[in-house]
Amino acid sequence: MKPIEIFKYTNWKPFEYLGIHGNFYSIHAETIISTWVVLGIILVAAIVSRHFLKKQVGVGNYLVVSFGQTFIDLCNQILGNFKYKYFAFITSIFCFILLCNCISLIPWLDEPTQDLNTTVAMGIIAIAYTHIQSVKVHGLWEYIKEYFSPFILMFPLNIVGKLANVVSISFRLFGNIFGGAIISQIYHNAVEGSILLESIGILSTLDITVKVFFGLFEGFIQAFVFSMLTLTYLSVAIQKDTVEKGNV
């Protein structure tokens, strides 16, 4: 059995010849390449689905419309009212993370989400969006006052609570995808080099089961969890306290 490599990134240092050094400016090559492949797939899918929508009939049209309708229903269920910008934000986050989790089905590519940099970036984007929308809905003064509620001593704990949201949402995605990737890597290291073991794996469909369970199934669940949690945080951030105003 080969030893398991946990951090196997090649570092690119594009700013080195400008005289800028340091670990902060190095780039993980595999992550960047897989992310651009994902973005390319999304672009192609968008063009194709636009073509389907123009035709108004057919299987493709049905698939695209039902995909959109599912997310419109989810937004209605959780937010209470439909707004196009929230729907677009949630759906694009879902598509990006789903494709990132499933990209390892293509040979020679790794999931970008098994790199902590990607998941923390997605977490920061999602949480920052909810804060911006909260400011837009309630106004800046109400937003700041929320940090000092219920009384002024709670200010540091409120700050920590908001930061813990980012940590929990990004480490959940990272842990699940990274764990799945490592388990399938261990399986491949175990059967590699022995024709008997490899053929047993293919014939008993264990090979496909490991790939599909950790690539498609777990990836789909985690992408859905990420987008639903973002939607929940959004609905908490933009809701108005109608009950209190009614009492006054």
């Binding site: 269920q77 959780i78 209470g80 813990a164 480490f171 969890v225």
Partner: protein, 320 residues
Amino acid sequence: MIDYSQLLHYCSIAFAVGVNSVGVGIGEGRASVAALKAINQQPSAQNAIGKVAIIGTALIETSAVLGLFTAIILFRNPLPETNALYVAIAEVGCALAIGLSGFIVGIVSSFPTEQSCYSIARQPFFSNKILNLTLLTQSIIQSPLIFSFLVLLFIKTQAATITTLADSVRYLSSGLCIGLGSIGPAIGLAIFAKNACKSIGINRHVYGKILTFSIISLAIIETPIIFALLISLVLAIISIPTTNMITTIAAMLAAGICMGLGTLFPGISSGKVASKACIQIAYRPDAHPIVSRVSMLAQGLIDTCAIYALLISLMIAILR
């Protein structure tokens, strides 16, 4: 003269696979008994009930398989000549990580299978949707196990470089943290999943609402485990000074145990809150928005306790 390093090495191999098998055995027994009782209630649905029971037991077995993987990994990497005792102590951390979480997950992941057998007995024509929900909830219950396995591999790959006792206690504490930390949230996840399956048995028209609600709730109940994972990774990565050996050992153990115990009751009570909300949605589907919102708010407040534990453990581990 006993060679303590070899004793610890083989004990941890045996612990990893033995304790997991005990948990899985209890869990599979519960699931099979529930399937038989459900067939006794509704004999015409025996095919659907049998399908759910077989898929459920296959998923319960995940923890035994991961325990076996751990035992093989530990067995194939024998102890080095120098510093053998220190590496053996780090391996005890590996065994605790997979053993504690595998034992609990093996027992509790039978709850949703059990309850969905009874639900199918009540709603025989709705078995496919109930099967979907069982599969989904049960595979989310496995995530503490995946996190523990991740920490274990971190410890195992870095264990060869240990030179001091403080380092080995650091890895032991890292494994203890994720092992203890997954007990409470795993129980909470299982209680919630059980009640989600039960509520569809009560009222099958709420399937769509329960599905989204259960995915969000399971993700929120899981939050304390993610804090425990964070502390475990921090403990496995940080570098510690070579002076003040006793103080460092005490600090490392304290950080791990603090986070591990801190997640215990937030996980359980968060699961209980969400499960009551699930049953209420089944009885009164029109109150779904307000019930789910109140439940998520309460879960957010309960998670505050886990955040306190996270803060204190980070302070102990990093600032000292």
